[in-house]
């Protein structure tokens, strides 16, 4: 444990880490403020009205609420036909926002929520029933299709949206990815020097001739790199969450994820809160894979510049693969791509399954499992490399030409 602490201290001794972290957090906050601010492009009165309605209406959908929303939506929409309100220039107290037009927009939004919830409840039952029929049809004909349809039925049957929430900000929050890019840069800064800097300052031989300088230090370096990764991911996740809460005024964290626009066909029956934690866990696994790849590069080179450049190139290559490889083969390749774990919310948008030896398995389960397996394999490879490479040629003779 003392060695892990020392290795962590070594990472955080680098002042660049703190400067970069401060700059990146600021950049991240500014980006969220500029692009996801609830006040963007709308008058303050509309935001005030929106927040007021949230307070009054968000939650379990009761008959009283339903009646009120329909009634108000119709009433205010009707007023817009009145010349007085069609070209209203001065606010009036009888409206929440002060204006009939904006009130109509807000009430209609809530009416849409109710309509969507209602149509969801009807459609999902219908689709589930169809899946069950298909499962029966394929029974004895095609085992995989049968299993897939049963899984569909088991996943979606019984779902019901019983509450209404203003969920407009949530998809933006789930899909927000700038912080992942910034986190990867932080990993480059913190992880790449872990091994290469030992060679740069001639400490590698000192470590190798010390009692705890071999296995224990190698293990401590891997652990400290993973702790650093977790810390960075945690800081950026908290920053994202608080910034979105503050600027985009996220709401409805306690409701089911399938009630959020775009996630109606979500394959996991979880709440928004749980989904936030799952996204965090998946990003952490993805970051851990990237961290260990950087650590491997750090071990392969004697100078920090080479693994830094190679790591950056590799990261951008993986991003391009994730972005442009969208066909079936590409999707399979991307199951092994750690970037998939950084932008994993798409795996939850629909019924996305993979045929794994005849069994339908949700894509997100595969992606997470592959990520965990890659983390484990990389840990073992790095550890084995460290132990094997400890017997080296002398530095003077082969300093630049041979890397062992």
């Amino acid at each position: 444990m003392r060695i892990v602490k020392c290795e962590l201290k070594k990472i955080f001794k680098n002042r660049v880490i703190f400067i970069a972290l401060a700059v990146f957090l600021l950049l991240n906050i500014i980006n969220i403020y500029r692009n996801y601010n609830i006040h963007n492009g709308v008058d303050d009165c509309v935001v005030t009205g929106q927040l007021y309605l949230r307070e009054q209406l968000d939650g379990e959908l009761t008959e009283d609420k339903r009646a009120l929303i329909y009634q108000q939506a119709e009433k205010v929409s009707g007023l817009l036909y009145n010349k007085k309100y069609a070209n209203q220039t001065e606010p009036e107290n009888e409206f929440i926002t002060g204006y009939a037009f904006w009130d109509s927009q807000l009430w209609n939004t809530y009416r849409d929520y109710i309509d969507k919830a209602q149509s969801f409840n009807e459609n999902i039952e219908q689709k589930s029933a169809e899946a069950l029929k298909k499962a029966e049809y394929y029974s004895g004909k095609n085992e995989y299709y049968e299993a897939e349809n049963k899984l569909y039925y088991n996943t979606y049957s019984g779902r019901k949206i019983t509450g209404i929430y203003d969920t407009n900000g949530l998809p933006d929050y789930f899909r927000y990815s700038l912080s992942s890019v910034l986190s990867v840069i932080m990993l480059l800064l913190g992880v790449v020097p872990i091994f290469s800097s030992e060679c740069e300052c001639d400490m590698d031989t000192v470590l190798l001739t010390s009692k705890n300088g071999r296995r224990k230090t190698a293990f401590a370096k891997i652990i400290s790199a993973l702790i650093y990764t977790f810390a960075i991911e945690l800081v950026f996740s908290i920053c994202d969450f608080l910034s979105f809460m503050c600027f985009a005024r996220l709401d409805g964290l306690g409701q089911s994820l399938y009630a959020v626009q775009g996630f109606e066909m979500c394959s996991a029956d979880i709440t928004v809160w749980q989904f936030c934690l799952i996204l965090f866990a998946m990003r952490t696994i993805g970051m851990s894979v990237i961290c260990l790849v950087f650590l491997l590069l750090s071990k392969l080179f004697r100078r920090s510049v080479a693994p830094f450049v190679t790591g950056a190139c590799l990261f951008f290559s993986l991003m391009l693969i994730k972005t442009f490889f969208t066909d079936t083969a590409g999707e399979i390749i991307n199951l092994f791509n750690p970037i998939s774990l950084l932008v994993s919310c798409n795996y939850f948008c629909d019924f996305s399954v993979v045929n794994l030896f005849g069994t339908p398995v949700f894509s997100y389960v595969i992606v997470v499992s592959v990520g965990v397996i890659i983390v484990f394999i990389l840990c073992v490879v790095i550890f084995a490399m460290l132990l094997k490479m400890q017997l080296r040629f002398p530095k003077l003779t082969f300093r630049r030409s041979v890397r062992l």
Partner: protein, 291 residues
């Protein structure tokens, strides 16, 4: 005090034989490992400290092979590598605390030992300075402190005085002398004066072989009568430098005062007392090394 023994150590890189059947025993005191660049000193040291495998032969410590001793062996060795920079953003205190952890010292023992060592290497007033702000000599003294932190029986120093100014080199030499009272110190260098006054034995290495291993006095004695001094006019200097093993050229008004090692170069040459530097030149040149 356990002895360190090298038994038939051989090592080659590809077709190049770097060490050829080396046998040697180290006991208490300073051992100067001398040899030209590429003689195999660093390879030998890497094998002794167990970061490189020999092709054949073994290193024994206290009669046991170091491979068998495993990590326990590192309790008894301290190593200062060539040109160490250490962690420039650490203070010396932080650096030694880290080394103490790496070498498995308890917190209490580490604190006591670090204080002792700062005093020993005379860095107590600079212990809170960043290592990056240290001069070469201070960094080498810090290097000695890190090597000694586990109070090892064997201290191995690889070219420790390279790049140091004369004052720091003398200071460093005195430090090593004090350490050698109860330890084995193996000092690899190609600077003869580093070991001349402090080494108990000098091991001369060239082309992977030990060409001599004896006390400095005996080595000097062995070439007495083969060191010559004579004067030459200015125009003969090039000829003399190419024909003889010249250990010194001193400008004098009419020409040069030359010191050579080997056969008597001319009738006017006078026999003069030898130094260890001339021993080095003589043996390395006889073993086919480039001077």
């Amino acid at each position: 005090m356990s002895t360190l023994e090298l038994k038939s150590i051989s090592k080659s890189y590809g077709k190049k034989q770097v060490l050829d059947n080396l046998n040697c025993t180290f006991e208490k005191g300073v051992y100067g490992l001398l040899g030209p660049n590429g003689a195999g000193k660093t390879t030998l040291i890497s094998i002794i400290v167990n970061i490189l495998n020999a092709d054949s032969g073994e290193v024994l410590f206290g009669g046991k092979p170091v491979k068998v001793l495993g990590s326990d062996y590192y309790d008894d060795i301290g190593y200062l590598p060539q040109y160490p920079h250490f962690y420039s953003n650490y203070t010396a205190q932080e650096f030694l605390e880290y080394i103490a952890v790496i070498k498995g010292l308890t917190k209490k023992k580490a604190k006591q030992r670090i204080d002792e060592l700062f005093e020993f290497v005379n860095l107590q007033d600079d212990k809170n300075k960043k290592v990056g702000a240290y001069s070469g000599g201070m960094r080498q003294r810090l290097g000695i402190a890190q090597a000694l932190i586990n109070n090892p029986e064997i201290l191995i120093l690889d070219e420790p005085t390279a790049g140091l100014d004369p004052k720091e080199r003398i200071r460093f030499r005195n430090l090593i002398s004090r350490i050698s009272e109860d330890k084995t110190v193996i000092l690899a260098t190609h600077i003869v004066t580093d070991v001349e006054s402090i080494a108990r034995d000098v091991i001369l290495l060239n082309k992977g072989k030990i060409i001599c291993n004896d006390t400095p006095e005996n080595l000097i004695e062995s070439i007495n009568g083969r060191v010559w001094s004579f004067e030459i006019p200015h125009n003969e200097i090039e000829d003399v430098l190419s024909r003889y093993i010249v250990s010194n050229v001193q400008y004098s008004g009419d020409g040069f005062l030359i010191k050579t090692v080997g056969e008597k170069p001319c009738k006017s040459a006078q026999n003069v007392p030898a130094t260890l530097e001339e021993v080095y030149l003589c043996y390395v040149s006889e073993s086919g090394g480039e001077i």
